[in-house]
Amino acid sequence: MNRNEDIQELLESKEEDFVINIGPQHPSTHGVLHLKVKLQGETVLDVQPHLGYIHRSIEKMCEASSYRNFIYLTSRMDYLSAHMNNQACSMAVEQGMALAIPERAKVIRILMSELTRLASHTLWWGALGLDLGATTPFFIGFRDREEIMDIFEETCGARLTMNYNVPGGVMYDIHPNFQKRVHTFLVNFKKHLPEYDQLLTGNVIFQSRMQGVGVISAEDAVSYGCTGPVARASGVSCDVRKWFPYDGYENAKFEEILETGGDCFSRYQVRVREMYESVKIIEQYIDAIPEGDFQAKTKNVIKLPKGEFYSRVETARGELGVYIVSDGSMKPYRVKFRSPNFSNLSALKHMAVGGKIGDLVAIMATLDLVIPDIDR
């Protein structure tokens, strides 16, 4: 079947098109994404995302905040990767201060990042099942996520917007129970992981809704600026942890997961396999947290020299870039967040056009969009 010819045929036909609005309060859209979809029968002819429902102008607010304060705003962007967002900002400020952070802080940051990745992927896995009409995955995903949230709550004092990273390291030391609880979690989670495959991966109905749907080639994925699991499912190697290692990831032993299908099922498999890799990294570091300071000494008021600083981390959804322009004062002159979801969303139209409207929901679910990160 040639997709392009089919679309051309439909475009030329005289039947009237049908335009429907999905969202911003539709249960399958995850947050306030509004899609204007042009249909002919069930075939998608055009998808236009309407953004801005949750635009808070975080970049403008950053210009009015100090270098310590603006980090906390970023927890509210991709709230499922809050820890990594904070880390990217802290790293950009540390780069400007030419500050080296203690080894202990680096390891704590890695552990927290990978736990966040697990929490994010389990939530995505549950929500994906829900989108496709299965209710059980949601409870299974949340059962494991809940345990991670409890660990965060104990050490960071918050479950979602952790605000645990500060320039120079982390805000306070890990809770005495941290290691014990992570061990308990790992035992449970490793027991639970095969259930994920049993429930969804091998399911025939699930597979037929995912395979060959929403295909994007490696070249297109690069041209659309896709990063993270979306690009890696098309065979594009782009893991920032491997390409531009930061905060000690150069010593972490893990594999970059690559699939070649480029369809929804490949994106699904990349994320599920990434959970195993995150478990590997946590196991490597949980008993090897070095002694010492958890924070380097910094001045109360941070001033960055005149110049530009760019830092990048791998969040659960792809590459987050933080671009700071400094004029030498106490506040950033300009802050730009290159958010992974924003670029991934731009590929949605390419994936969805020519498919059925039911597939659109599957595509959105495997893109794993977090809308506050797009609108900022």
Binding site: G52, H55, Q95, E308, Y310, Y333
Partner: protein, 150 residues
């Protein structure tokens, strides 16, 4: 290529280019020369910048720059290409959305928040805000009610 070789390579194509070094090599070109150089960096086998990471606008009060972070997967290098726009009343620069398709969205964002027009952009509409809003990331946009200066 080393940074020195790159500078030579770029000067040979665009003599007006000005260089700055931060963590990456910064290349500043006038807005009207920008598109040709961007295309050259994308297509030449020696640079091969296939990833457009981000597009950001910066308001320098007397002029604007549009900052493009480019990356090559083959050579593993990152460039920062800046288009300098001196016309503050009617700022514009050529689009690169046909070279990197992700630029379509990124340029709409810059248009929305800075009011910089991208010539030949296929669908230049505001992205987040409605049409009556000002351009909030410009330095002369003041909002005393919702943004409290420390």
């Amino acid at each position: 290529m080393t940074n020195e070789e790159l500078k030579g390579f770029i000067t040979a194509h665009t003599p007006e280019a000005v260089f700055e070094e931060s963590q990456y090599l910064n290349i500043i070109v006038p807005a009207e020369k920008f598109r040709a150089l961007a295309k050259h960096l994308r297509e030449d086998a020696g640079t091969n910048c296939d990833y457009l990471i981000s597009v950001s606008g910066v308001d320098w009060k007397d002029h604007f720059t549009v900052v493009y972070h480019l990356q090559s997967r083959k050579h593993k290098h990152v460039f920062v290409l800046k288009a300098k726009i001196t016309d503050r009343l009617n700022p514009s620069v050529d689009t690169v959305s046909d070279i990197w398709r992700t630029a379509e969205f990124h340029e709409r964002e810059v248009f929305d928040l800075f009011g910089i027009k991208f010539n030949n952009h296929p669908d230049l509409r505001r992205l987040f805000l409605d049409d009556t809003w000002g351009f909030p990331l410009r330095k002369d946009y003041v909002d005393d009610v919702t943004i409290v200066q420390l």
